[in-house]
Every structure is written in structure tokens, then in C-alpha cells.
Symmetry: D2
Subunit: 307 residues, 4 copies
């Protein structure tokens, strides 16, 4: 299910909160059902989108357990932490609870190739070489820049690396380079799922990506998009993508974008409340009007946006 | 013409080069004509897009003079430099040649409010308080983060600041905050033109921006968009914007985006050659095919993309 | 004891580990006794020096409790964390256990004055306005740059801010500016203890600092230095400082410096083992020989370095 | 004279200015004589210390020519610039005027090993493979972090790289690693001169450095220190170093340190005026008193500090 040949859509799930800031466990259940109903192939929790740094370790483990008790497809858990003790603890608890694997993002201080590769080697030594992991490449947020060569090095040095969460920007040629190496046998094949809000998912698929791992509030669109591409319907894929792009771009904004995303997920019935845990941005009336306007225009092309 | 009440579109112009890397002065003339024909209200040269750091000071001055000899509307010259001697020299030469004003971007080392405001005070002391200047707020490239408060402070402390080139991301609420202060008389009115590739120009207009200052290869679309907004035709504005967004997003990529932009400007007849001065990214065949595909799809909505 | 009028030396304590990486609780006791015997006025634990990010939350709380059960003078606990949930939990547990206050460092993403001041306001809202806190200003490590004005703003906006841990570099004029404001009644008085390894402690005292808060392996020298300054013996202060400077400078190195520090504390009998928790730098033979040579030279001036 | 086997001291020279900010060409002559009289083996001009970014290109070339007309030993010219056109122009003018080589620092945006190595390859392509160059490794200022491996790669890929200006901090093990590779024939030998204000020059010599390239205002002390080390008198080397360390540390402060340095060079008769070109820090009365006190204490050990 989850491995180097994974294809499709892994939704990045938010963490639902009650209005008072407590974790909304009931909404975790409805959210899991929502994602399953929309046809995603897996779920990734406790990423940046999941407001992971705002959680206590106990809450993180409880959320992992609640999700795994409900979601019937593979679940990946973000275990990035400022120190290895926390990473190891969360990774162990997640695998014990039935997670398919974990996702690791390098800390901002990593600069040289040796530092980055060394960090992944140390991480694997901590969590265990038997735990499949996703390598997250997200320089816009982490400020860590990985050349294609250092990604290959991490993949080659760590057999438990099964997937790249690709969200470099711009990053199309990076996918081509990695796939080119694989085609020539110069790099072990891995799954590549794309994040970055999906802003280039159309071309990322054409460059050789296996699918998406992002939190766009219409995961069903992502599923359709990947299917159209797999069916060879590139025109259909672009048409669908282009219809969503105005809103997708809006939702992709740093900070406020997560508030927008939760608002739409709430409107779609996935979660009960849209609020973030403090401190976090809030949608003001202007933002809300802009989102409603975008959804109304989108609904002319895709009825799923009408609610 | 150019001042605190400027509205419309200032195109950010590239610097055309011959295939051997020399400045292509003939293309400067055709490029000026192209922009005038497309109805822009002004031109900004020697910005990041203009590959300014790759030029010698002599080339910079020669380019300024060539543009000013041809272009019949206001021209703003980017004079950001690692030191004030170079800034002062280029600013003086530009104003002597007839520039309407200059644009200043803070260097990456600026962090605190005092540092940023101090840098602008020093810049004005160097170039002269009689030279109108544009304050560029572009954190994604400069890493300098300006709060609305520090922008207001710069505006209040420097009467020669006439315009904000707004390209924070996300930045919609920043426009609203500044316009709110102006409405309440808590800040001197200035012109706000938006950059950032135009990625949020639709909503930026609705938030109170006066227009665009960006290098999108279809400045005529930007002109139409601003006019539709000025005419109160918001639905028409969004429809036009949405049609261009798939390509606009593609062109907005850091690095390779400039190569794409020059390629389209070449295809549209503005300049003779698409190449950047080394070192700079080059479009490969895959990129070219993607651009051609995007333009073909765009041409169904906007015939200007058919060539 | 601990408040806006605190003077003297607060030692930054390391976290002792057993060779297998477990927390060495027995060494916590001997370490507390060591610091008390050397005459320090307080202790700061779980700072950067204390390898805090490598600890699990449970370990952090257990260490706090162990220290507070043994150390008979004020203890400050570093509670900086990537999220407020963790900060609030550790702060609450520390105050419950009898800590005198907490220390808060802003995360690296903070840039503008508003962001920094806002972060401290949010922190106080989380931990409670009744918890005295130390404002840590350490740009070399955090990359957060605070102007004197933003420090004053934080002090004025948060009555529970009782102390500045000053470790900007260079930073002498910053102390003078803050003390100047206080003298003119333009800023509420606070205690200023200096860190940065003590590299400028001689002049920091002359500029108006109240003492030191740093982890130098000879806290007794710091105590003497502050006393000489308080007694008006500036020549004696400089002579003592200058004798220690060659080693102090060596110990101040980022990364390896902590290994050196623990090595000397072990040699002085404060802790049983010198090792850091992985991942962390290790002293090689060359480093060890350099340290031993430095101590031998220092011992000619200060017999405390002979062991 | 200047090459992979260079040993000794290359002084980093400041740029002297008249009180009105104009270049003080007469002081360039006296400064050259000063450095020759103090026994340095070479000079490096137009580095960060030389306020290079504040100069116009014409001034830079004029300074190079003036120095080369006077100074009878090898001169290295810093040619780092935001773009290659400026680098190429200054490098060409410098070599034409008789410079021994140039020094190149990578721009702050360089992160991955490939980016850094690629930058040096491009630089060599611009300035010519026949121009000997110094690789400057100064992360504290540039934020560019070079692993030992990427330094070796640059050395191996570019035969015209003859020297490393080592100023990483901490950086002792980096010297050992490079020298270890050379001893095993795994890296071409190059000269290593150390900067970073000289703060670790004592141990850098013991680790295998060939000397110093830094701007400390007592270059004659650096010359003596290197000679003592070459003569095998390590105790004498440390004693000399330790005596200077209190002042050396003070002068090493970022920003204000250059003002201090120029002040001492003026007091020693090297240059006529101590002022920096604006914008730049100025010594206030407190700073001046601290410097005078430090020099008075130093003069008890080294009469060269009495003036």
C-alpha cells in the first residue's frame, strides 16, 4: 500500500480544534470519513498544516491513535521535532499504533550537503531502519535547500526512505532530474508525491510525479486530476486544474491559507469548527467574502464548490 | 504623471541582450515601442527582472539613457546597490537623463524596524530629497520583512516617497491596513502598485491598489484588468485574470520565470533575443513545450496569446 | 531574590548525561552543590547549553524537579519551545516545583518589531502574567535581531519581564542605551545579566550590567569578577578577566564549546561524565590537548585551573 | 611569492578616507609604507574591511593602481561583486595593474554544495583560469557554509585556486581535515591563511595554517607570532598572543571594530584620518576610552601599543 511504488493522493490533514482550543476528537472521526469518501489513497497527519508544534506530546499521540482507529488506508505521521528524543518517541508511538510510516523535515539550520545527509542518517538511527519514511523537501518553509544530488544521496544511504514529498519551488526540473537518474539506473526508484499546495500539480504529473500529498480543501479534485493523468487525458487534467487554480492559489497563501482551508473543510462538513489553535491567523470579513466569491465562481465549473 | 496619485500599469522591463551577452540596444527601442503600444502608463527598468546586478555601471547608465530617449511616458529606475556610492551615481545619472524617479530595495541584512527606516533615511540623504522614490517591499526575494507600521514610518519620514511597490506574500491585509490608515488620516496617501508577478492582482485591486508594477509578458492584459476594475466591472476583471492565471503562475517561477518571460516577449516581437546574460537559467525543451501548451490554451480565451 | 534588582552571577547549567545518554540525576545533585560552593547567586537550566531540545517533556520536568529539590537559591528555567502548548506546560510545571522564573527566547522566524513584541505578549498570555520571565536577546544563535527600542517595548508592555539576558554581539552600546533610558525615566528598570560566554563581561560591567548569566566552566571567576567590579576595583577585574580570556574564548566556540565546558566541569568534579547526548560534537585528542594546554597556562594565574 | 606555498602574513588593508568621505590617496601611500615597515608578506585590499561596497568602480580601480604603484610585495584584490560583469571588470583592471591575484567570496544566496562549487566555476570562467584566486570561507558574514568537502571540490576543480582564507568559526577541525587530506594525497596542497580577526590564530597555526590574512591593527604582532611558530617557539607564540587577546577581541567586534581598527592605525601613523565613509559606525567617547584603556594595558606587555 505505502511504499516506493505508491501512486495517488495522500491528503495532508489539519488538526481540528474546538472553539476553546482543545483537540476536537469527534471531528477527527468525521474528517477521516470525509477523506475516505473523497477517495484519497492515504493520509498524512501532524505536518505543518496540522499545527503540530502547537500540540503537547500527549495530544500528538492521542491524535495519531484516534486517526488510526478510524482511517482504513495508510497513514503517515509527521515526526519532525527540534530534538531526536521527541522524534523517536512520536515515531515509536505512531508505528505501534499502526502508522504506515513517518515524514521527516530537516531543521532550518541545515545548510551543507553533509549536514543534510547526516541529519537523515541520524534520524534513521533514532527511529529505526525498519520504519519507512518520507523525505520532505520544502525550502520555502524550512529554508533548507536540497540539490537533486543530496536527495539521491539520502535515498541511496537510507533504504527506509520510500517517498519524496516534493515541494521545492520552482521544482519541475528537479522531478525530471530524479526521474532521469532512475531511468538510467543511477538512483533507486521511490515514490514522488507533490505538495506546495498543488500549485504546479498539473505539470508535476507530466514530469513524472506519482501524485499529490497536499492539504487542498478539495482532495476529490486532486484524486480526479491524478486519475485523468493516469488515463492519459492531459487536456481534461489541465481543464480541471485550471478551473480550481484561482481558489487553489488563494488557499496556498502562507499563514492565512490554513484558516481558509479549515473554513472550507468546515463548510464541506469534514470538521465542526474552522478555528486554529492560538496563536494563528483568523479570517476577517473581507477574506471570507473573497473566499465565498472564489467558491461561487468555482462552482460554475465544479459543483462540489457549491454549498 | 508619476507621483502619489499614480494609477495604472508600470511594466517592469527586462534588459535585452544579444546572443553573445552584449546589451541589445536596438531591442531596447523595439521594447519601448511595444510597451507604449500595449498602453502601459510607465516603465520600470533595472530591477531584479532587468538583471541589474549583471551590468557594469557604464552599461546601466547607457541603458537608462537609451530608454529615456525613446519612451515617452514616465520611467522609474531601480538604483538598489550594495553601497551608497553606486546608488547615488546611478540615481544622479538617471534623473539627469530624465527619469521620473527611482526605486529602492533594502539589502538583505536589514532586520529591525530601526534598521529598515534608517536605511531609507540614509538613501534619501544620498540621492537627494528632491528625487521621488518607490519603496519596494519584496520579502520573498530580499528576506527583509516590513510591517505596515514601518512602511508608514518610511512614508512619513521621507516626503519624497511617492509609491509602494507592494509584493509581500501574502499581502492582501497589508494593503487594507495601509489604506485604512490613509482613510483615517493616519498616513499620508501614496500610490500602491503591485508586483509579485501579478499573482494576486485581482484581489489587490479590490483591496485598494492603484494598479500593477510587474513584468508579466502580457502587460496589455494588466492594462485591461486595471481598466475593468476602474470601470466597476469586477466580474469581467476576474474572468480575464482567471484565464491568464495558469500561464501567469508558470511565468512567476523564480529563476526560470525570467527566461520564460523573455521568450514570450521575443515571440510577441518586443525583443529580438530571449537569452539572459550568463549566469542565468535556460529553458530546456520540456519547459518550452510546457510554455507553448499554456499559451495555446490561453489563446482560446485571449487571442493575444496566439502567435 | 530574583527580580528587577538582581545582581551577581546566574550560572547556566548543562544537563549531565550518563555514557548511554540517559539523564544523570546523581550528577545533577553534585552539580548543584558545585555551583552553590562556588558562590553563584542563581542557576538557569534547560537553556541552549542544557541541550533542552534533546529532552523529552517528561525528562525536562524531572530535571527541573531534581534541581529545585537540591539548589537553595533561585532557579530560572528555559521554557522556549516551538509551540505554546509545550511552553505553557513546562512553565507551569516549573513554577509548581518552585522555580523563580522562566526564560523565553523568540523563535527564528521573528523579524519585525511587531512580530517580536507580539510573540512576547502571546507568551505571557500563555504562561500567565504572574510568572516572572527573562528576555533572552541572543541574535548569533536565534537570528532574531532586537533593537533597544523593541526591548524597551517588551519591558513596558509586560510587567512580568524582570530581566534581560544580554548576549547581542557587539552589544556594549545596547547596554548603555538601555541604562541611559532608565536613568532618564524613559524605561522601567530591569536587571541585566550578560551571556555570550562572558566574552565581553569586563566592559559589560562597566557599561552598567548587573552581572553574568553564562555557562563558563569557572563560575567562581565570574563571581570574583563581579565582586571586584562592585568593589570599584576595575584594574583587578580586568586582570582577572584577561588571565581567563584565552581559555574563555576557546570555550565560547559554538558546538564544540559545550563539549569543552562539560569536560572541564567533569575535571572540576561537578559532573561525573562529560558526554553530550547524541547528536553532539565530541572532543578529539587534538582538542583535548589544546584544552589541557590552555588550562595549564591559566593555572599559572589562577590555581583553580590546576587539577 | 604568491601561490600555493605562501606563508606569513597578508594584512587586510582598510580604505583611507578624508573627513569629507573622499578617498585619501596620500594615506594609501603612508599605509603601504607602514605595512612594509612592519614586515608583512603581502597585502589584501578591497575586502569587507576595505568598505569595498561603498566605492564606485572608478574609485576601486584607482585605489588598486595607487596601492600597486607603492607596495613592493604581492597584493591580492577582493573582487566579490553582486554580478559577474563587475567582478570581471575589477579583476581584469587589477591584474593589468600588477596584482598577484584576486579574492572571491560567494554571495549569501549560495546554499547547496552544487551552488557553491558552481559559483566558483562560473567566477573562474569570467575572470580567466590564469588568474590566481583566494577562496574566502567566512560564514559569519556571508551566511554561506562550506563543508571541507566542498572546499576540496573547489580546489580540485579550479587549478587557479591557490589559497584558502580560512575564517569559519569554529574552524580548527576544518584546518585539520584539509591538512589531513593533503597529507594523504587526497587533496592538492594550497596555502591556508587565517582571518576572523585573528581570534584563534594561535591554535590555527598549530593546526597547520600557513599564517594570517586579517586586518588586526598590529600586523607586526601577527608577523612575530607566525615567526615564533615557525621557529618552534610555541610557548612564546601563546604568550605574545595572550597579551594581545583582550584588545584583539575588542577590535574583532562586527561593525564598530573597523572604526576601532582605523583609529589605531591612525594613532600608529599609518593613515591620516580614522573616519569611515558613511554610512558606518562611529566611536563614541565611551568606546574611545575603552580602547585607550585596552592599549594602555597592552603597552605593559608590548611597547608597540604605547603611543
Amino acid at each position: 500500500m505505502f511504499g516506493t511504488d505508491t501512486k495517488g493522493v495522500y491528503a495532508i490533514a489539519p488538526t481540528p480544534f474546538l472553539p476553546d482550543g482543545a483537540v476536537d476528537y469527534a471531528s477527527i472521526d468525521t474528517m477521516c470519513d470525509f477523506y475516505l469518501d473523497r477517495g484519497v489513497d492515504g493520509l498524512t497527519i501532524l505536518g505543518i498544516l496540522g499545527e503540530a508544534p502547537k500540540l503537547t506530546p500527549e495530544e500528538s499521540v492521542a491524535i495519531v491513535q484516534r486517526v488510526l482507529a478510524r482511517f482504513t488506508k495508510p497513514v503517515v505521521v509527521g515526526v519532525s521535532a527540534p530534538g531526536f528524543a521527541a522524534m523517536k518517541a512520536l515515531s515509536g508511538a505512531s508505528m505501534d499504533a499502526g502508522a504506515a510510516g513517518v515524514m521527516i523535515t530537516p531543521p532550518a539550520a541545515m545548510r551543507t550537503d553533509d549536514q543534510i545527509a547526516g541529519y537523515y542518517a541520524q534520524s534513521v538511527a533514532q527511529i529505526g531502519a525498519d520504519v519507512p519514511f518520507v523525505l520532505q523537501d520544502h525550502p520555502l518553509v524550512t529554508t533548507v535547500q536540497m540539490s537533486p544530488g543530496v536527495i539521491r544521496r539520502i535515498v541511496e544511504e537510507n533504504p527506509s526512505c520510500v517517498m519524496l514529498k516534493h515541494e521545492d519551488w520552482p521544482g519541475l526540473d528537479k522531478i525530471s532530474t530524479l526521474r532521469g537518474w532512475q531511468a538510467k539506473g543511477e538512483m533507486r526508484p521511490i515514490s514522488i508525491l507533490c505538495g506546495n499546495g498543488g500549485l504546479f500539480l498539473d505539470f508535476e504529473m507530466e514530469r513524472g510525479a506519482d501524485g499529490a500529498m497536499t492539504g487542498y480543501a478539495f482532495p476529490d479534485m486532486l484524486v480526479d486530476l491524478v486519475k485523468r493523468h493516469q488515463a492519459g487525458d492531459n487536456e481534461g487534467m489541465h481543464a480541471l486544474f485550471d478551473a480550481h487554480l484561482p481558489f487553489l492559489r488563494y488557499e496556498h497563501q502562507s499563514g492565512i491559507g490554513l484558516a481558509v482551508r479549515k473554513y472550507v473543510l468546515m463548510r464541506r462538513g469534514a470538521i465542526a469548527h474552522a478555528n486554529l489553535r492560538v496563536p494563528g491567523p483568523k479570517m476577517n470579513d473581507t477574506t471570507k467574502a473573497e473566499v465565498d466569491g472564489l467558491l461561487a465562481r468555482l462552482a460554475k465549473h465544479d459543483p462540489r464548490a457549491a454549498f
